[in-house]
Amino acid sequence: MRPTPGAFLRAGAIAVVAVILQLSGLGPLRFFGATPDLTPLVVAAVAIYAGSIPGAAMGFGTGLLLDLLVGGTMGPSSLVLTAVGYWVGRYREVRDPAHGLLPIPVGAVATLGWALAFAAVSFMLDVGTTVSPLVLREMLVATALNTIIALPVFWLCRRVLRPALAVDPLDARRRRRKPRGTGPLGLRGLEV
C-alpha cells in the first residue's frame, strides 16, 4: 500500500466503522452464546492486502480506538491487534497467497489468535476472579461466526482499499492470465 493520505484515510475509515459497528451494533447480538467480532477481521483484511507494516499500523490504530472507546485499561487491544496485523501481513509477504477463499482461513486464524492472545494478556494483567471453561467455547463459536462473515468483510475492505493498493494479491486476473505459448518442456521456442 502506498503511504499516501488517501490510503491512511481509507484504512482509518475502515477502522472507525468497524469499531463503531462492533461496539454499538453487534454487541448485543448473540448467536449460540457468542458475538461476531469485526475488529480482527478488518485488521487481517488490511494486512493481507497491504502487507505487514500497514497491517501492524492498522492493528495498533484499531486497538487504540477500541481501548479509547470502551474505557478501562489502555493497551491490551492495540498490543494484540498489532501482532495479529503484523503476522497476517508477513504471511502474505512470505507466501504470496492468491486463492479466492483465502479470507476464510485467514479470518478464522486471526480471530482465534486475537481471542487467545487477548485472553493471555487479560490473565496476566487484571482478571481477579475465577474463569469458566465456557470462555473457550465462546472463543470457538466467535471464531466460527467470524469464519462465516470473513468473505464479505474482506471483500468490502478490498473494495475500499483497492485504489490505494500498489499490488492486489488476490487479483484473480493476475493469476488467471493465460501463459504465453510454451513447448512440452515448458520452454518457449520449443513449441510443437
Binding site: 451494533g25 495498533f60 472507546l69 470502551v70
Partner: protein, 297 residues
C-alpha cells in the same frame, strides 16, 4: 534476496507499535483512570458518542429482528418458568404483607429510623446503552447520560430485573458502567429472608451464573431464595450500593467439606448481555449520621 533496509524498517515499525502499547498499558495501571490517558479516553468518548448513539439507533431494527428470532425459541420455556414463579410469589406475598406490617409497628415501637434503601431514597435517571464491551474479559457498557444529567462516579446502576453495576467513569454526555459480571466487580449481598451475608462475584465467561462467596457454613441457604444488596455501613467504610436492590435468585449451593465457606450460585435478575436501558440511582439517601442528626465529618 531480502532488502535489509526493508527488513529493518519492518522490524522498527513493529517495535514502535509494541513499545507504544506497553507504555500505554503501564501508564494505564499507574494512573488508574486519571491522567493523560483518562483525559484522552474522555475526549475520544465525547467525540464519538454522537456516532455511537446514531449507529446504535440505526442498527436497532436489525438487532431486534435477530433478538426476536432468539426470543421466539426461548418463549415457551420462559412462559412455563414465569408461571411457576408467579405462583411462588403469590404464596410469598401474603406472608410478606404481614411481616411488613409487623416490622412497621416494631420500628415505631423502638423509634428506629428507617434505613436508607432501595427504592426509597433513590432518584433514578433512565439511560440508553450505546456501547458494549466486545470481549468476555471486561463487562462494561457505556450509557448516553453523563455528568450533565447529575450522574457521578460510583453511583449504582439498575436494569429492569435488578442490580446491573456501578458507574466507573463519567464525561459530560456519557458514562461508563462496570457491570456486576465484570471480573473486577464485587458486591456485598444478603440472602433474603435467611440473612446470610456474602460477596457476589462473577465468573468470567458465565454471565448467567454469579457466585455469592464467603457465606458462613452455619447459615442455611436454600435454592430459590432472593439475594439483595446488603448496603453495609460502618464508621469507616460504606457500601456503594443502597440496601435492598435485588441481584438474583439462588440456583445452587456448593457445600464443600474442605472449604471454610459455602459457595452459593445465583442467576442474576437482569439480563446483562442484552441490556438496552438502565437506571442510574443518582440519590443515595441520607446517611446514618445524618439520620441521627449528627453533622457529617
Amino acid at each position: 534476496m531480502f532488502d535489509s533496509k526493508v527488513v529493518r524498517r519492518r522490524r522498527a515499525a513493529l517495535a514502535i507499535f509494541v513499545v507504544l502499547s506497553m507504555v500505554m498499558l503501564t501508564a494505564s495501571f499507574g494512573q488508574s483512570g486519571g491522567g493523560i490517558l483518562g483525559a484522552l479516553q474522555g475526549g475520544a468518548q465525547t467525540v464519538f458518542a454522537p456516532l455511537e448513539k446514531g449507529a446504535g439507533r440505526a442498527l436497532k431494527p436489525a438487532r431486534d429482528l435477530f433478538g426476536w428470532v432468539g426470543d421466539t425459541f426461548d418463549a415457551k420455556g420462559e412462559n412455563k418458568r414465569l408461571q411457576a414463579e408467579v405462583e411462588d410469589l403469590r404464596k410469598q406475598l401474603g406472608g410478606s404483607a404481614t411481616a411488613q406490617r409487623d416490622a412497621e409497628q416494631l420500628r415505631a415501637l423502638v423509634k428506629l429510623n428507617r434505613d436508607a434503601g432501595f427504592p426509597t431514597d433513590t432518584k433514578p435517571v433512565a439511560a440508553r446503552v450505546i456501547v458494549r464491551s466486545p470481549t468476555v474479559w471486561y463487562s462494561t457498557v457505556k450509557i448516553d447520560r453523563g455528568s450533565d444529567d447529575g450522574i457521578k462516579k460510583d453511583q449504582p446502576v439498575i436494569s429492569a430485573g435488578g442490580l446491573a453495576g456501578k458507574v466507573s467513569s463519567v464525561s459530560g454526555g456519557s458514562a461508563d458502567v462496570t457491570l456486576i459480571t465484570d471480573g473486577a466487580s464485587a458486591v456485598s449481598a444478603q440472602v433474603m429472608p435467611d440473612g446470610a451475608n456474602g460477596i457476589v462475584k462473577p465468573e468470567v465467561g458465565k454471565p448467567d451464573d454469579l457466585l455469592l462467596d464467603f457465606v458462613e457454613k452455619k447459615r442455611r441457604v436454600t435454592e430459590g431464595t432472593t439475594v439483595v444488596t446488603s448496603g453495609f455501613r460502618s464508621s469507616r467504610v460504606e457500601s456503594l450500593f443502597p440496601r435492598g436492590i435485588p441481584i438474583g435468585r439462588v440456583t445452587k449451593v456448593d457445600l464443600d467439606e474442605v472449604e471454610l465457606y459455602q459457595r452459593v450460585h445465583l442467576k442474576p435478575f437482569a439480563d446483562l448481555r442484552r441490556v438496552d436501558f438502565v437506571q442510574v440511582l443518582t440519590s443515595r439517601g441520607r446517611t446514618a449520621t445524618e439520620q441521627a442528626g449528627v453533622p457529617a465529618p
